[in-house]
């Protein structure tokens, strides 16, 4: 079962949330971030090249221009491969674990999988970010030594940064699965 809904992130950009219910015990949430805008790309490229041209008129060395082109290309490739995240996915499988995938604009995917035995809870936290108060969804991990304690807080959807309405949808779905998980582990 697949559903798509449109939300907005904390800066006002448009996000698309895709929900897939594979089975009662397996759900996936896919957030697509706004694409790289042509305007900002053109602006950065023009700035760099104007600066390079300025230096060229000062020093009369054509190496500066080639270096500027090189830097722009490398910078763009590096940005697409290491910085720009296109899509963030959260896959929650009952009694197996939670998997978070970030796909970059160049196609690279980086995945983290947390086993269900380590997950204590999934909560929405508040944070003060510059002059804003934002909400973020995070996974609390159990402390092996202290059963009531928390060893780590893993935030989810860090680059998409959706708003509270989107987070509530994801939170509700996750809690349904976690409730079942807790019921089975409590009966151990």
């Amino acid at each position: 079962m697949e559903e798509e809904q449109s939300f907005s992130d904390i800066c006002g950009g448009r996000l698309a949330l895709q929900r897939r219910y594979y089975s009662p015990s397996c759900r996936e949430f896919c957030l697509s971030c706004p694409r790289i805008s042509l305007r900002s790309l053109t602006a950065v490229t023009c700035t760099v090249w104007l600066a390079a041209y300025g230096l060229f008129t000062l020093f009369e060395n054509s190496m500066i221009l080639s270096a500027a082109i090189f830097i722009t290309l490398l910078g763009l490739l590096g940005y697409l491969h290491f910085v720009k995240i296109d899509q963030e996915t959260l896959l929650i499988i009952d009694s197996l674990g939670i998997q978070m995938t970030s796909s970059y604009a160049s196609g690279k995917e980086s995945t983290t999988f947390i086993e269900m035995g380590k997950v204590k809870d999934v909560v929405i936290n508040e944070a003060i970010y510059m002059q804003k108060v934002i909400y973020y969804l995070c996974i609390l991990l159990k402390d092996p030594v202290d059963p009531q304690g928390i060893s780590q807080v893993v935030p989810v959807f860090q680059s998409a940064k959706p708003r509270l309405d989107c987070l509530i949808e994801v939170y509700r779905s996750c809690q349904e699965i976690l409730a079942h998980q807790k019921a089975t582990s409590a009966s151990l």
């Binding site: 009662p24 015990s25 197996l96």
Partner: protein, 630 residues
């Protein structure tokens, strides 16, 4: 469930190359997972209500019908299937095989269920036959996996025999089918996330987490994978090696040859280390020299590493094996680079050119120093120095430089020979060549080091004198017994002389301070260059090249974890996931497998360094023991 003639089943005679019909009906998973009824069978071997996970190897997905062999993990409610045993078989042979593997790997294997692959027109009898097998190899729960004719439709069913008085006699559970690549899981090594620094290492480790148990099971059952289908054993199995055992001629030859080679090299290395531990080298001048030269330190380090690699003991753990491999690759690369450097040096008689250039460079440095001293003896940067002290210090240092230049000129005929022989050391490795370079630099700038020491000692004397006399000026004294400043009554003549000396020292301070500043800066420059060379040597020493190469070419060998992908889902069919290995990121590879280096790290923090510089205490950077040279 109907059981065909028990005799036939017991004898294990089954249909040859079966023409079978689809197996048991497909199970529709319960949309709302519910807890089991209250009267669950006591001592049932699984967690009630938990989704049952079946780990199935991808290599067996196209295998013929047969029995599922593997391990059942009750705490995780997961069944790890390792192989499929095909018809015909004798049950007692299967049990013997499992017992043998269990003994070899200390892992509890069992027959988990049946696997049925419909290739052509299905037959009804197989379905009943398969169900009947559940009575022979009783296992709770009994899995029945089935794959349809078109290769797409999978179905799973797990049946549990519950003793009454519970209402249901057979429980059908939600099942997840997780496909995994057996070869990759067998060869990979799981690296658990780093333990938090404030926890001890042995503190309640994560209960061999569900996935670590899967990796562990596959790794321990290696005995099961040793036979392939050409072996003709009593039981015909399907697993990742059933098409032919994987082996490499080179690896086998290397293993066979490594025994005698290691023995030979180990004895050679022990001879060398015994020779170097000889008493002759313990005498004072030589031992002092050995401890100061970084070349000797590097050679000793390499000797230790080589004796580790060629030791005749087998590696006790995979981490040790990796370390040995890393050391070997690092040494090989080092020697290759060293030989390249040597060939480049000898190609156009560069050694001769270097030797010819050395003397003029040393002369040039000495000349620059002389100019510097002349500048200091005049009015440096417009400051007015104390004439007499200035002249004394300047002349003293100039004479020192003159001695140094004469010494260099005395050595000049022998320079080329020495360089040539020292250059041969480069064939031992690039790191050794760099250490030689660093030592040569230290030797050539020895006069700068001497000047620094003189200037620092003089300055320190001055600052100590000033602080003591300042205390006298205020009527206080340093109490050595109590380690504190106490008041003290001085005689008049003591006060007079003290104040006089204080003023003299105070007005001579700028001159000494300037000399100290200039020579400290020069010394710091030399130390920085030497430090950079040492950093490079440390980098080559400690980089785990084999691990990095492994991460690049065989990323599944070093696993940080796993990742799942949901495969095509048809409604009414069970959920299928593909489990893949998530490789370790490069930064963690370097951190985990980094080799121990010489350990030359600066022992001062920036603050204490500045403090020592301000008070004129000598600094010994890059070494825990004494000075660089004497």
């Amino acid at each position: 469930m109907g059981l065909p003639s028990r005799g036939a089943a017991a004898a294990g005679l089954g249909p040859e190359s079966a023409v079978v019909r689809p197996g048991p009906p497909v199970v529709v998973p319960n949309p709302i997972p519910t807890l089991p009824p209250e009267g669950a069978a006591p001592g049932s071997s699984r967690v009630p209500g938990m989704v049952l996970k079946a780990f199935f190897p991808t290599c067996c997905a196209s295998a013929d019908s047969g029995l599922l062999l593997g391990r059942w993990v009750p705490e995780q409610s997961s069944a790890v299937v390792l192989a499929v045993a095909h018809f015909p078989f004798v049950p007692i042979q299967v049990r013997m095989l499992l017992a043998r593997v269990q003994q070899a790997g200390r892992v509890g294997l069992a027959v988990l269920g049946t696997w049925c692959h419909h290739r052509q027109e299905p037959e009804e009898s197989l379905g009943h036959f398969l169900e009947g097998l559940g009575a022979i190899f009783s296992h709770e729960p009994w899995l029945q996996l089935c794959r349809g004719r078109d290769g797409w439709s999978w179905s799973c069913k797990a049946t549990r025999r519950q003793t009454p008085p519970s209402a249901a006699t057979v429980g059908e559970d939600q099942i997840m089918l997780i496909l995994y690549d057996q070869r990759k899981v067998l060869l990979s090594r799981l690296h658990p996330p780093a333990v938090l620094p404030d926890r001890q290492a042995g503190d309640a480790p994560a209960s061999a987490g569900g996935l670590a148990a899967v990796f562990d099971t596959v790794a321990r059952s290696e005995a099961l994978f040793r036979s392939d289908r050409f072996d003709g054993g009593p039981v015909r199995l399907s697993h990742w090696q059933s098409e032919g055992v994987e082996a490499s001629i080179l690896v086998e030859l290397a293993k066979w040859a490594s025994g005698p080679v290691c023995l030979l090299l180990a004895s050679l290395l022990s001879l060398i280390s015994a020779a170097s531990a000889c008493r002759v080298f313990g005498l004072w001048p030589l031992s002092f020299l050995w401890s100061k030269l970084s070349t000797c330190g590097q050679l000793r380090h390499r000797l230790e590493q080589l004796s580790l690699v060629f030791s005749t003991q087998k590696a006790r753990s995979p981490a040790q094996l990796m370390r040995k491999a890393n050391v070997l690759v690092s040494v090989l690369l080092d020697v290759t680079l060293g030989l390249l450097l040597l060939s480049w040096l000898h190609r156009q008689d560069r050694i001769g050119q270097l030797a010819d250039a050395l003397i003029p460079v040393a002369d040039h440095v000495a000349e620059e120093l002389q100019h510097l001293l002349q500048w200091l003896m005049g009015a440096p940067a417009g400051l007015k120095m104390n004439r007499a002290l200035d002249q004394v210090l300047g002349r003293f240092f100039l004479y020192h430089i003159h001695l140094w230049i004469s010494y260099i000129h005395l050595m000049s005929p022998f320079i080329e020979r020495i360089l040539w022989h020292v250059g041969l050391l480069a064939c031992l490795g690039l790191t050794v060549a760099l250490s030689v370079l660093s030592d040569t630099l230290a030797l050539l700038t020895f006069h700068i080091y001497c000047f620094y020491v003189y200037g620092a000692r003089l300055y320190r004397l001055k600052t100590h004198g000033l602080s003591a006399l300042w205390r006298l000026f205020r009527g206080k004294k340093w109490n050595v017994l109590r380690q504190r400043v106490d008041s003290c009554s001085y005689d008049l003549d003591q006060l007079f002389v003290g104040t006089l000396l204080f003023t003299v020292l105070l007005f001579l301070l700028p001159t000494t301070a300037l000399y100290y500043l200039v020579f400290t800066l020069l010394r710091l420059l030399v130390v920085t260059v030497q430090g950079l060379i040492h950093l490079l040597v440390d980098l080559i020493n400690s980089l785990p090249l084999y691990s990095l190469g492994l991460r690049l070419c065989r990323p599944y060998r070093l696993a940080a974890g796993v990742k799942f992908r949901v495969l095509e889902r048809e409604p009414g069919r069970p959920l299928r996931l593909l489990m893949q290995i998530n490789p370790l990121p490069y930064s963690r590879v370097v951190n985990t497998y980094r080799l121990p280096s010489c350990g030359c790290h600066p022992q001062h923090s920036w603050g204490s360094l500045c403090r020592r510089l301000f008070f004129g205490e000598l600094i010994y950077p890059w070494r825990q023991r004494g000075d660089k040279q004497d």
